[in-house]
Amino acid sequence: MKNGTRKWLFCAVLVALLAGFVGAASAKEILIGNMQDISGPTSVWGNAVTRGAEIAVEKINAAGGVDGAMLKLITMDTKANVQEAIKGYNSLVSSGVVAVVGPPVSNIGLALGPIANKAGVPVVGSFIDPRVTVGEDGKPQAAMFLMQPSSVQYSEIMASYTIDVLGLKKIGVLYDQSNAFAVSLMKPYVEYIKAAGGEIVSEQVYTKGDKDFKTQLTKIKEAGADCLYFPNYIQEAVLVTNQRKQIGFDVPIIGGLDFAPPFASLVNDPEAANNIYLANNFSEKEPQLKEVWDVYKAKYGENPVNKVFLGYDKILLIQEAMKLAGGTSSEHVMKGMPVVANLEGTTGVLTISPDTHQPVGLSMVMYKIEKGEYVELGRYVPEKHRAPWSK
């Protein structure tokens, strides 16, 4: 054999061997994308979701993976920016991910919907605007899945608790009219209250960047409201809580998820952080949290926030979808996700509706903040949310 031919033959064998190794390595890995805000304004949430997802991946891999293949999480930083998120999603699809852990940001979910439907790589997120998972035609977005109550479900839980449990019927509403999250939480609440015989005595708005709400609060106070519904982000929640006390408006606040810890500690005034109701995804006392809680605390030296458990459950859902569909490709995840039922997650029992790609019958844990302390009131789900096939 000539020298040159021998060299070519050696190279060909080497390439074949390398290809074999690479093929063998990728055959044992299932790539899952994770798109979160790692460095932007909502990075507290993004990092928490990522850590929760990583803990789930580590646990699944320690138990032998899925069908003998190890899960590998590839994280992309969205910087809470829609364009960055779209670039990140396309890059993940090119990398061969079979599913993507989505961010808890609705406007990113809205932008990703049509792209993900076309690419066929499902996104499992916690974007609560229902338009992310259900199109204008009323049909579910094929590749988009929500794993916590939508804004409609959440608002109705809060509205039902306000009127059916607390017996408060004269409601004042204050919300950011320039924020889709706040608006999506306001409308269903108001509709539920009116349908249940309650009255919206004053509806006040503010816009992005406003920091002084005393005028709106004074108007709501003057209107004789029994309580204040305030579905907005945590920074405004802190301001409104303090300003409510400053003007002497001592009625309950019915809040959103942003009133969950660490909200009360940020108010820095137990007298102000008082008489506030909220619904959280879980209770710290619930036994299903313990394992993740302990792992997180040992790893990061702090208590986990609720987004950690959302990240964890997103991976559990993807794993369950693979099991149900009998394969590990993106097509299998797409096929399995809508039929997930009664999956014991950390945030509750997860059943995904094939009609809406949203969870059904998912209860929330009600809390009351009393002088800066969270007092648990138990799980709550309105009667109309209960599905016959859910627990």
Binding site: D210, T215, N242
Partner: protein
């Protein structure tokens, strides 16, 4: 409702006034709109917060509050001096076009804001509680203690500034520099020192404003963007007039609150700016009636 709105307006105006006074001082001396004041306010608010965290175990609440204000004022003065050295001095030496002062001040404001974002993240923080009571009854309605203190401090800052400008040698020098820097130099005064002093006073005021803004509205990197309201108040009051800035700020605060009450928060800015435009059409010199030619 009316009394509550007026008091709310005065309290909001007090926030703007603290910003506007520092703004007006620099306009008075250097004849340009110093938007780096926003960045200075942000950094000093964070400096005050760090001081509060560091000293909270060592000092009682009222002493702690005074220490936090002092720390923020000193850091504001130092940062403003650094801004003068980095952003404005060379421009003055080279007699640069006026627009460069404006660009330079905006750039410094953005730089300071971004530095805070990098080092302190974009999360928000809350100042500790300094006072046992957060609100006191006045004329049958509740008024926040911080709002009352802000109003008192705005008045105090105005009086202190007027005293410095009209009763001290430095003040005389600063006022002389307002007219002609070259002549001031010929008369043996150091214009660099005078300009730096003016900026340091403005920076110290920015520090105090920053702490109050942080206490009232939480601490976040974009806190200094409220400087725009200070600028509007300054224009309304008469550019370059310090007492005009305070009056303009309180008027702006009251106007905003009443428009929020009448037409809602969405439309309120529209109506406020319409009133402002109408006012400036009738009286372009502003309330105080002083016209100073602006560099930028």
């Amino acid at each position: 409702m009316l009394v509550q709105n007026i008091l709310n307006g005065i309290s909001l105006g007090s926030v703007y006034a603290l910003i506007a006074v520092g703004f007006a001082l620099i306009f008075n001396v250097l004849k340009f709109s110093n938007f780096s004041q926003g960045g200075v306010m942000t950094v000093t608010a964070y400096a005050g917060y760090v001081a509060s965290r560091y000293l909270s175990d060592r000092l009682d609440s009222l002493v702690l509050f005074a220490a936090v204000l002092a720390a923020a004022a000193v850091s504001g003065a130092v940062i403003a001096a650094a801004v003068e050295r980095l952003a404005f001095r060379r421009l003055r030496r080279t007699k640069s076009e006026p627009v460069y002062y404006f660009i330079s001040s905006i750039t410094m404001g953005i730089l300071l804001e971004n530095l805070i974002t990098i080092y302190a993240s974009s999360n928000f923080y809350s100042y500790p509680r300094f006072f046992a009571t957060s609100a006191v009854p006045l004329f049958g309605v509740n008024v926040a203690v911080t709002d009352m203190m802000m109003f008192a401090l705005s008045i105090a800052a105005l009086l202190a500034l007027l005293f410095i400008l009209h009763r001290t040698k430095i003040g005389l020098g600063i006022r002389a520099a307002c007219f002609d820097v070259n002549t001031v130099q010929l008369m043996g005064m150091n214009p660099d020192f005078l300009v730096t002093t003016a900026l340091m006073i403005s920076g110290a005021l920015g520090g105090v404003s920053g702490v109050f803004l942080g206490m009232n509205y939480t601490l976040y990197p974009q806190l200094g963007q409220m400087v725009v309201k200070g600028f509007v108040a300054s224009v309304l009051g008469g550019l370059g007039s310090i007492h005009g800035a305070v009056i303009g700020a309180v008027l702006l605060g009251i106007l905003e609150i009443f428009f929020i009450s009448w037409v809602g928060a969405g439309w309120a800015p529209v109506f406020v700016f319409i009133v402002m435009l109408a006012f400036l059409l009738v009286r372009p010199r502003g309330i105080a009636g002083i016209i100073v030619q602006e560099k930028a």
